[in-house]
Amino acid sequence: MKLVSMKCCKFIVFTVLIIMTSACGNKSMYNWGGYSNNLLGYYKNMDDEQLQKFSDSLYEGIEKAEIKDNVPPGMYAEYGYTKLELNDANTAAIYFQKEWDKWPESRFLMEKVMKRLTTMAPEQTTPSTTGEM
């Protein structure tokens, strides 16, 4: 009898705890790596040095989050854009593609941005003959 009531008791405590945690669910889905704070740091001082710092922080965040596959939405693109601003269009394109792969909702924008990149590209590459396909 005692055993039964103990079990019952535990069960009630357990279910109530479940209800509490699910009602106020605060488990984080993604690994943000201090994103909000780093972005704020950049906005407080928007120079190249802070941009580089913000960009590095995004890269570190992505590397960590990829381990458990919980990279937040927008993060690949955010990093890609900082690389674009830092004149590294190649890396930018790679990360825009990653955003495209992971989030279908991003595809329209990513395609638009990547198209812009490819139209920019010919100026950077050496002029070649047009016969090549």
Binding site: Y35, L40, G74, E78
Partner: protein, 272 residues
């Protein structure tokens, strides 16, 4: 057995009080049928004298919206693109046509936030911040109002709480999740965001990336009351008629003033 019952009663009382909410639930009929998968965050309008408030606030929005289960467009990238395209002025962006703006990014919905007040309050006993925010989400496909919420909070810095149990609970969790330095202002913004976005019956339903997607209809019901907003002020992005953007473009003074249809697909003038 009696003890168990008492224990159960106490625990459920705790469970309920932890998430105490106002009984007046909003109507989520429009939101649920629009079923937005993505949210575009646009620049925040700052009516306060706290100069940095707009940028600060912007940085606190992506985490709670993403954690609610939505695809949130890269906030800084969007901000920069808008600035490049001459859309850097928040007031201009808020009063621009929602559907055209959404089309630029392929967004299902847009969230507009206005900071109505952000003031330091000092009195004998404590130092606090009074904040007043207006949140508006509109459908990117037809410009309709999907949801609106107003938050008016006084956050006591000395005690680190807003007095709103719900806001405090969730804000603490979000601060932890976002690794924040928990500066006063970030705490304030996070508290308000949590109260606005997460409160059952008042916030927004879970998005497609959440485990609760489409299973939280008790907390966010389609109750048909038509009460989408609890705002007491008018947003720059929203005038009482959700189709006002469309109507405004047509010259006033036409013969009939109350026609409703066929205005949407007919006007596609080239504004650039």
């Amino acid at each position: 057995m009696n003890k168990i019952k008492i224990l159960a009663a106490i625990l459920s009382a705790i469970a309920l009080s932890a998430c105490a909410t106002a009984p007046d639930y909003k109507d989520f009929t429009t939101f649920i049928s629009a079923d937005p998968h993505s949210i575009l965050i646009v620049p925040v309008i700052n009516h306060s004298e706290e100069v940095e408030a707009a940028d600060l606030f912007l940085t606190t929005l992506p985490v709670p919206l993403s954690e609610k289960g939505y695809y949130v467009f890269p906030t800084n990238m969007v901000k920069k693109i808008m600035e490049e395209d001459g859309l850097g002025d928040p007031l201009l962006v808020h009063s621009a046509d929602t559907t055209r703006l959404a089309d630029l990014f392929g967004a299902d919905s847009i969230i507009y936030v206005e900071i109505l007040e952000w003031t330091n309050k000092y009195n004998v006993l404590s130092a606090g911040v009074q904040v007043h925010f207006l949140y508006t989400i509109k459908d990117g496909h037809d410009g309709k109002l999907l949801w609106q919420d107003e938050q008016n909070l006084i956050v006591d810095k000395s005690q680190g709480g807003s007095g709103n149990i719900f806001a405090d609970l969730i804000a603490t969790a979000i601060v932890a999740a976002s690794d924040s330095l928990s500066s006063d202002y970030t705490y304030v913004a996070n508290s308000a965001n949590a109260a606005a976005i997460y409160a059952p019956g008042q916030g927004i339903p879970a998005g497609p990336y959440s485990a609760l997607y489409k299973s939280d209809t008790k907390q966010f019901p389609a109750n048909g009351t038509g009460r989408i907003s609890d705002a007491t002020v008018l947003a720059a992005s929203y005038q009482a008629d959700p189709n006002i953007n469309m109507k405004n473009k047509e010259e006033k003074g036409d013969e009939n003033s109350e026609e409703t249809n066929s205005s949407e697909d007919s006007d596609q003038n080239n504004s650039n």
